[in-house]
């Protein structure tokens, strides 16, 4: 991932947000609603009340973690497009381990999240191996692993993991004592968001302020130069693969632990892909990516309210992140195109 001066990145983001705001207005008009009403309802639904804010934060956990995973991988030059699959792997691990756990909630939660992170890291390993040993582009292998993960979830909730108490394609529910309780009454936000914020700070610290982070970034920026000064490129890439997979797996585990309480099919509403969009909008800077993820989460929460109040379809929340990323890519291509 190429790095740009701060002023240039700011200009690119400004352009992108103008385009996205324009897209919001146009989409509202297309739906026959007043843009002012629609945007008002969107803002109200994202942050207008304790419940709205809670909804945004509940959605943000998953997106922040997948955005962090994407940022970390991209900065190390690893194009992990398979966060969706790693997210599902983490959710499967949580759904498999979760119902067996009882006793001290803290220990149970730690075990569940460790299993989820490990599953996410394991799920990306075939791609890392294929890339290192066989020269297979990780873009292809990680997408294929997404397919396999979605198929596995579909089969598991109808097979080995199916709740024996019902006919639904879903796994057994976690014990209430193990699940996260809301932080404040009347809100869906749980301690999961605190974990996500802590990890955002940790990833930013490691990536920007430690020798290990410097090595990872060097491998991503200039692989040949990094090799020339003796950095273990293959090992660093493997670390980036595994760490980004673990973050996405953790996101899946937290989704089960804090939001859904069980696994069902289809489980993900594209968390992996929206997380990638957040990372791209944030220029693969962990904190900026996390902020973008919270923004997209607010967009998701707000658009539900907007659809209810003004009739503008909530699918707008999927369009706008895509438009933002396309605008960033186009603006960046224009700027680098003008370089001497």
């Amino acid at each position: 991932m190429k790095r740009e001066p701060f002023a240039r990145r700011l200009a690119i983001v400004a352009v992108a947000f103008s385009v996205a705001a324009g897209a919001l207005v146009v989409l509202a008009l297309l739906a026959g609603a007043s843009p002012v009403d629609a945007l008002g309802a969107l803002a109200e639904g994202a942050a207008g009340s304790r419940a709205a804010l809670g909804e945004t934060l509940a959605r943000a956990t998953t997106l922040v973690l997948t955005a962090l995973g994407a940022s970390l991988a991209f900065r190390a030059g690893v194009l992990n497009i398979g966060l969706e699959g790693q997210f599902l792997a983490g959710a499967v691990a949580a759904a498999a381990v979760g119902p067996l756990l009882s006793g001290a909630p803290l220990v149970a939660r730690a075990a569940l999240l460790a299993a989820a992170a490990a599953a996410g890291a394991l799920w990306v390993l075939p791609a890392a191996w294929l890339e290192a040993r066989r020269g297979v582009p990780e873009v292809l292998s990680t997408i294929l692993l997404n397919l396999v993960a979605a198929a596995a979830v579909s089969g598991l909730v109808r097979g080995a993991l199916q709740d024996p108490a019902g006919d639904y394609p879903q796994s057994r529910a976690l014990a209430e004592a193990v699940r996260f309780a809301p932080l404040v009454a009347g809100s869906r936000a749980t301690a999961a968001i605190l974990i996500a914020v802590a990890l955002a700070l940790l990833v930013a610290l490691v990536l920007e302020r430690t020798p290990l982070g410097l090595k990872l970034r060097a491998t991503g920026l200039a692989p040949a130069a990094a090799r020339a000064i003796g950095l273990p490129g293959a090992r660093l890439r493997l670390l980036a693969f595994a760490a980004s997979g673990a973050l996405a797996g953790l996101a899946g585990g937290l989704e089960v632990l804090a939001v859904t309480g069980r696994l069902y099919d289809p489980f993900s509403a594209g968390a992996g892909y929206t997380g990638i969009a957040a990372a791209l909008l944030g220029g693969s800077n962990p904190l900026a990516a996390a902020a973008s993820a919270v923004l997209f989460a607010g967009l998701g929460a707000g658009s539900s309210a907007m659809q209810r109040d003004t009739g503008v379809p909530g699918a707008l929340a999927t369009i706008v992140p895509g438009v933002l990323v396309l605008a960033v890519l186009a603006a960046r291509a224009r700027q680098t195109g003008n370089e001497p």
């Binding site: 598991l156 109808r158 097979g159 706008v320």
Partner: protein, 297 residues
């Protein structure tokens, strides 16, 4: 023709069209991982045209038109704009999934009722002409890539872009043309889905078929004729899955069949040496003109 074979062919045809388009684009050196989105655009365009009174063949044409525009738009970002095609494709999927869901809701309202459209009429063996035509596309593509001048230039754009530029060709032009064609084929694949098997549009109607088509290209190691067995395998697996579900039998094979194309493609990649027959310049930006012109004194 027995029901099972007919359903297999019906289900294989959309995959075959989409994969053939993607193969063309990848042989030219670009890659559109947003093929799922392009298929959705085609499916919705066909649905919208049919709902506004077009006959099924006109709906197919409308989808092809939408696909041409989609392919040109992708090329504007990923080829002429030289943005990373992988990143463009990721955003593309979001915009297409959201855009078609948004438009469908505007068209259908919040009623939630199923809006059926007329399907394509049978041509031979109870199959529509477009389905039969889909099976000819890989053969045409094979001849085009191996035996025609534009086809060879396209392959050069994917294998050695600098050589093509040195010969006076334009990598941007070739890849844009390939992207436009790939867009039309991907959209036709999506349209075929709603004009044959499931005569309505629902959000995400393509159900991962775009990603399966991407896997098929890898599985076929970028050779057009090898797409056919792969598509038949996936189509047959899906047909079998329908049959098992209808028969109330076990549903475990469902997941196995669902995972099969992805797994097969992974094994094909693992077994192959290097990038498994991928074009050498796959995913790299088109060279800028000044990169190959001699330096001024």
């Amino acid at each position: 023709m027995s029901g099972f074979v007919a359903v297999t062919l019906l289900l294989a045809a959309p995959l075959l069209l989409a994969a053939a388009g993607e193969l063309l684009l990848e042989r030219a050196g670009s890659i559109q991982i947003g093929l799922e989105g392009t298929m959705l655009i085609g499916a919705f365009a066909a649905f919208a045209a049919a709902r506004s009174g077009a006959n099924p063949h006109a709906a197919l044409l409308a989808a092809a038109g939408a696909g041409l525009v989609a392919g040109a738009a992708f090329a504007a970002f990923a080829v002429a704009g030289r943005a990373d095609p992988i990143l463009v494709g990721t955003a593309w999927n979001l915009v297409a999934a959201g855009g078609t869901a948004f438009s469908y809701r505007l068209l259908a309202g919040a009623t939630g009722s199923v809006l059926e459209i007329r399907t394509l009429p049978p041509f031979v063996f109870g199959l529509p002409a477009a389905v039969v035509g889909a099976f000819l596309v890989p053969a045409v593509l094979q001849v085009f890539l191996q035996r025609t001048r534009p086809g060879l230039r396209l392959v050069a754009a994917g294998e050695n872009p600098l050589a093509l530029e040195a010969m006076g060709g334009s990598v941007v032009f070739v890849r844009t043309a390939a992207s436009v064609l790939a867009g039309a084929l991907g959209a036709l694949g999506g349209a075929l889905l709603v004009l044959t098997v499931s005569p309505t549009f629902v959000e995400g109607v393509t159900a991962g078929r775009g990603f399966l088509a991407l896997a098929l290209v890898v599985f076929a190691r970028w050779k057009p004729l090898r797409l056919v067995p792969g598509a038949l395998l996936v189509g047959g697996a899906t047909a079998l899955q329908y049959r098992l579900q209808a028969g109330g039998g076990t549903r475990i094979p469902y997941a196995v069949f669902l995972a099969l194309p992805g797994l097969l493609a992974l094994f094909a990649l693992a077994a192959a040496r290097g990038r498994g027959g991928a074009p050498k310049a796959l995913g790299t930006p088109a060279p800028r003109r000044r990169a190959i012109s001699p330096r001024p004194p």
